[in-house]
Symmetry: C3
Subunit: 642 residues, 3 copies
């Protein structure tokens, strides 16, 4: 449980480094993350390395008692490398190379670039692998940022063909899996296969699905190459990569298997502006972010690996359609909340606002004139709160099943523009959280017996094995429409949905419809929306809408939402199921969120007005570790669990 | 008057074919449409044909007593053909080839592809031209689908230059026709002329107009090449092509001259979602489709040729922004309505929902698990209704004049974003239909004397000959703004609008304005919108708006709407004119539509609630052939005309 | 103070030219602008010139007593030139050549095209430079129209590298100025630098800023080459170029230094449709245009040079999303208003509506059938009004500072989608005008001592020298947020905003936020919106919003709006400051605008209903030169100042 900061010594005169390091230490930070965009300074010309400045920077930090997380600089290859190898560039979906001049200008499938990626990693790992300060390594930076996972370059095409050859061996197997007899799309050879873009109308969804999987695999492979080199030279270092919020173009569960800690970059305000939330919601949470944004990602990435936050928004940013100031207290809140969700560390981005180039309007802990900004004092306060706590361990009894593969299937064939897997999963997450529940978001392959309730908002492919383990687990199940509807190629499952889940949910989905955004019908405490199944079933529906359409089926403790529930409808069903299982729920005021570890319970107020803790919550002895019964905007309360 | 179905035996194991054929027959179907996407199976490698499977499929259908409509497979050329001839691809308006991976990946102007199109047609026609089951042939599939009529390929450029050379002979004639002295656009040679795209601002509208005409001609030629080959080998077969709804990129009147029956593909739900209707309208008719969608297209295509429906939506589809289930009864309603409008046959698309590839979420008569879906039972019911009726012949006394050439002129120079020819024409059609009228939609070249009232919602070029025939016909005329405003090159007509129509409408349009969407002024029973002319005229306007602007001029029985009327305003003017001509009109409840042939009258309820037939409608003896005075949602009533 | 007209004799038979000229003269016009699109007629083949027609056209106009403004035809190079030199084309930001078929198909950086531009200019200047009728010359037409200033061609890339080499000499100086150590963007040579497009995410803002400056310089150079040739052969002629409204891609202050008169093309209706105004506002002023559109541009371009209007909208146009007819009287109003703002001349575009090609739906003074259209009579009326007046000289005591360089900085890094420099500047202008004030819009380099109040709505870079001159001037200052926030490279200014303005406004902007469109908080008579600074300051804010956020600081007579004021909030602050300075203000009814010269005062009613002049306005002796106390829609009143 430690605090750090993102630092770019190369942006500042060397004279500042020592005082910077000392101020970091004084602030309560224990590490600095450095180096990840500095290739042009480390290797100004091909093969000529300049480590002097980095030696000195690392040494200065070390001398101040800070540890260092060192990043490989592969997100920003220098111009001379690009000019020497134009086959290293990614191509966009429109068929154009994506050139030099910003960052991430490379293709994961370029063997040329892979070679240089390994080379610079090797050089760095050799030099700093045994340095006592360098205890952590980060590969590259934000794989996929600026839509860079899926490349349509000639190199990607060749690599995709190889990937397919490896997967299917026989072209007829591919033809069969993809259903290529449809529209005469049959191939005679893997070398005939193009990337799925610039077709007349949409390409075969199975074709696109395999391309998405291939693209994800290329990212993982790229990371693994670097991680293996680092491991060789720094066998005891913590290896990480910093992933993003709201990003699904590669499989983070798989990446989680190849890091020690998965870190993520948390920018609650910018992402709210980008979201599909209503204008009212965006206005209410303008300077706080959505109450579930950070929690959702903490719990999602905790399901991938040990996790931390390596870029915490410290003030206004520069890249959203509008960039408000965080409400006073929010940097503190976000920081503490991360640890409440089990983060191993948290670090604001960045130490000092840099007055030039693309990110000059992105706040730091310090202003460009070296004075403290909002984040500075709030990180100090957060350190004070954290000092009273030990590390948390999660003990959630409710799980959401999620897989990237399912996300891609629904992305490729949403069957209705309003169907967004992320919106649905995070809406179900928010429904559970609004009851005060702790929630794990996990891959279907995890051990399920620890859970009392398992939610499946949107899991299109779902194997017999998973269905069997669900049954064995004894958990109560709430499954949404589309669950178990697809086979591994994204095709309709034989026997129809819910496929293997019929073991628990004895019904057959005969067909489905999607509707425009907005409520589709009233049911229970809310409405259904987006998607509705028609079902053949011996049982009567437990809930129907005003037109008599089936919305919910109950089979013992298992539930099937034949029509996707909105938050209110789902919440009441979940509340009842929790009550049956003896899981305590709460009626939280809007904007209040709870989180419990084994030792403590936290409350966070995201709303713009003060709220009271509902009766039944709070320390039995009335003693708060921090805060109290009334939480101001951006307020935190914490107390020991009995 | 027969029912069929679209069938893809190649998607299913051969063991199923016989039972499929028998079930079709039992359902009351008399033909199956097959083969149109199967090139890769018919010719797996260059010149190696595999007819065994098709022989067997045709034979199996024949054995069950079904006729076969066989499609040429040119909408889906195989990958090996594309790889051998990259000059066969169309290019998009952005200047990029449109590649393999879906369908329609060819350019109508590619001589290479034309050769292969003739070759595969020849091979098929030779083999099946004399087969007793194969009584109908379809060329290709949905010319123009996915915006494929207008290609910007090098082949198209060469062909366009030849087309222009043939049309104008002399480059100075072209310069004069297009007005190329404007902006120094003069050419010295046909070989200097580019396709009208990627210019700095919009190209010369006459240039674009000729390109649109050329593109249409290429489609017709492509069809004619196939049709001639088929005719040679199957002289008695019915030749068709399946056109689409809401599609205007080539001249369907011209195509109609080269088919025996023009078929169309009717998907009422998806097209409502795509339309510019209000959200309220889309919500009300979500599961029924717009009440005039099918009728409009039936009457439009009946104006091109004998017609039928070859793809009838049988349930939810997969390609619209949202895809609802049809209200129970709608498949029956759509099917019967087609025959009420004079269709020669109707066939749902498709027999069985296919669980793989692009259209896996598109319903069939059967579910993927072979159980009957909605369409199955409703087609059976429709067959029952139809058994009581004979073929209808149209006897409309009201006509709408429409031409594709005029559509293109207005598309190229709308003069206001809200001016959409289709919206205007179909709105006038709907106004007439809401009075219970039967309407023909016809090309200006048809014999007009059979009509009492002729509507000209939007006919920009209108020759002296047409004006003369209008006068001779004795029909009352209602013309909308822009009528007769252009010459054959799309230029302003000498003497100004309404040009030749001045013979009937003695006025001069001095200038015109367009306004933002929404009402422009109140007049009569409604409002004007979109477009308004200023007029010099000896007569006073018959209607003005609240600002005193002229909206309507009356000259005897002829009307000129100087400002485009909305539905309410037009309806009342039309009602009065019908009364004067002794044409009976009705006050129909919203969503109710009528249709009469010589022998019967039908009522169709598109609304979501039950409606009563208005007094004055219904059988004089009280005996309905089907239905009754109260029509439930999706209900049909029919009775014999006295 | 003279009236002219845009005329294209080449569009009409020679027989019409003489009567055209005579009608122009009779209408009160004194000159015709001709020739600017006629290259293909002047030089039908390479090197073969045909001057006969132009000789005759000029002669005919001359004979009728008209002067001629002759345009160089370089906006429309002929096809043969394009075919001979494909390196003359501009490329769009997507990386594609912008081809022949409309106009402006050339790249300002093409040396080849520059050579031909000089050649055709030379040929024309030699032939007509001494012609007694040709008293005025226009270079090219509407530089930048259709987004043609910024070209991404190979020629532009080479020229940009040269421009950078000249500016920075040393590549390290460029690296330092741009901050290229960020994201490893360092260059070793000017030849490594690409144009700032098709990068993975946004390029370095300093890179883009220099590209925008370079692109502007290329336009000025292109103009200067032509102007110098013309000057040589026609030393006494007036040289002009016609600029556009709402256009900022090159520096009009700089162009103003190289013309005798800067002319502009005024289309009030089309530009309102294109603007970001509310739908209500667009509806209210549908047929009049925004009340400040024309005034803003008159005053902006008067700040660049002597100015005139060379294209005045005379009726509906063809190019906006909808194209209404001007309210009767508006052509007269626009024409008189131009002179009230100091225009040297005004000319409607065009003489006669041309019935072919791209602009066939654009009105002229005459209809295509030669009859007078709206503009004809109204220009005649305007001539009558103008005959009573002498030339005006401006005497504004309020100035707005504006620079194109600042515009580009904010365009490149708006930091919030709602931040549009033009909207802010023109909103501040409108606030002042709604008080009845005359306003100059000037570059910060002008002499400021003549002004009592100086407004700085958005001037990001602001030098010490300007701040010093502001102080010396004694003017009261109202500065908006972002003033003085950037250095000359677009980077954050050392010491933070307001940088040099701290001399007058002793505060420090510590950080800023942007919010979604709409009010951000209530303050004074209105609200703040779009942008808000947080400020360190010894003084208390003079205004705060309901959340206690500082909105306005007052320092003596100087004001700093830490949060951008809306029109109401700014107006009241400005009104108070004017009162303190003894500048009279008025409470104008909505849509009424005033303008005073040294000799007269004018009132213009843009509203759709009649308005009364407020008490205190109008002639002291009750005698109006035109109009009276009640102004009908489109009405004008004018009276002598005492
Ligand atoms: Zn792995
Ligand atoms: Zn024909
Ligand atoms: Zn200059």
């Amino acid at each position: 449980m430690s605090l750090g900061v993102c630092y770019y010594p190369e942006h500042w005169p060397e004279e500042k480094w020592e005082s910077d390091a000392e101020r970091m230490k004084a602030l309560g930070l224990s590490f600095a993350r450095i180096g990840e965009f500095s290739w042009a300074l480390l290797e100004p010309e091909p093969g000529r390395y300049e480590f002097g400045w980095l030696d000195k920077a690392v040494g200065t930090l070390h001398a101040a008692g800070l540890e260092v997380m060192l990043g490989t600089p592969t997100a920003t290859p220098p111009k001379w490398l690009v000019d020497a190898h134009d086959d290293m560039l990614a191509w966009d979906e429109e068929g154009r190379p994506r050139g030099f001049g910003s960052r991430r200008h490379y293709c994961f499938s370029s063997e040329t670039y892979r070679r240089h990626s390994r080379r610079i990693t090797e050089v760095l790992a050799r030099r700093y692998g045994q340095h006592p300060a360098v205890t952590m390594w980060q590969t590259d930076n934000e794989f996929g940022c600026h839509d860079t996972v899926r490349s349509y370059s000639p190199m990607a095409r060749l690599a995709f063909r190889d990937w397919l050859r490896e997967k299917y061996t026989d072209i007829d197997a591919l033809n069969e899996a993809w259903g290529n007899r449809f529209w005469s799309m049959l191939y005679h050879s893997f070398d005939e296969i193009e990337l799925p873009h610039l077709t007349v109308t949409e390409p075969n969804p199975s074709h696109t699905l395999d391309f998405y999987r291939f693209s994800s695999d290329q990212v993982i492979d790229f990371h693994k190459e670097q991680a293996e080199i680092i491991r060789l030279h720094a066998p005891h270092a913590t290896i990480t990569h910093n992933v993003m919020g709201h990003y699904y173009h590669y499989d983070h569960h798989e990446l989680g298997r190849h890091v020690d800690v998965l870190t993520w970059d948390s920018y609650p305000l910018g992402f709210l502006a980008w979201s599909r939330s209503s204008d009212e919601h965006k206005q209410r949470y303008l300077r706080q972010g959505d109450p579930d944004f950070a929690g959702y990602h903490h719990d999602l990435y905790r399901g991938c690996s040990a996790f931390g936050v390596i870029e915490q928004q410290p003030g206004p940013v520069n890249w959203a359609p509008y960039n408000p100031c965080p409400l006073p207290g929010m940097v503190r809140l976000w920081t503490v909340e991360a640890f409440a969700h089990g983060a191993h560390f948290s670090a604001p981005f960045r130490w000092r606002q840099v007055p030039f180039a693309q990110e000059q309007n992105h706040a730091g802990l310090l202003r460009p004139d070296d004075q403290p900004a909002q984040g500075y004092g709030e990180i100090e306060e957060a350190a004070g709160v954290l000092a009273k706590l030990g590390p948390e361990e999660e003990a959630a009894r409710v799980a959401i099943l999620f897989s990237y593969d399912s996300f891609w299937m629904a992305e490729i064939q949403p069957q209705g523009n309003a169907y967004h897997t992320e919106d649905i999963v995070s809406d179900w997450y928010a429904a559970a959280r609004s009851l005060g529940l702790d929630v794990d978001i996990v891959h279907p392959s995890v051990e399920l017996s620890r859970y009392d309730v398992v939610l499946i908002p949107s899991l299109l492919p779902l194997t017999e094995e998973v269905a069997w383990r669900l049954e064995e687990s004894g958990a109560a199940l709430i499954a949404g429409a589309r669950s178990g509807s697809k086979n591994e190629n994204g095709n309709i499952i034989p026997g129809l949905a819910p496929g293997p889940l019929k073991r628990l949910l004895p019904l057959t989905v005969t067909r489905s419809e999607t509707i425009p955004p907005g409520p589709g019908g009233k049911a229970g405490a809310g409405h259904w929306h987006i998607w509705r199944d028609e079902v053949e079933c011996d049982a009567e529906p437990a809930l129907t809408d005003e037109a008599g359409r089936a919305v919910l089926y109950r089979f013992g403790e298992h539930r099937y939402f034949a029509a996707l529930p909105d938050r209110a409808l789902l919440r009441e069903e979940l509340r009842a199921l929790c009550a049956a299982r003896g899981i305590e729920t709460a009626d939280l005021p809007e904007g209040l969120r709870l989180r419990s570890g084994r030792g403590h319970r936290f409350a966070f107020n995201y709303g713009p007005e003060p709220v009271e803790l509902p009766a039944g919550l709070g320390p039995s002895d009335g003693e708060f570790l921090t805060g109290g019964r009334t939480l101001p905007p951006a307020g935190i309360a914490a107390w020991r669990l009995p």
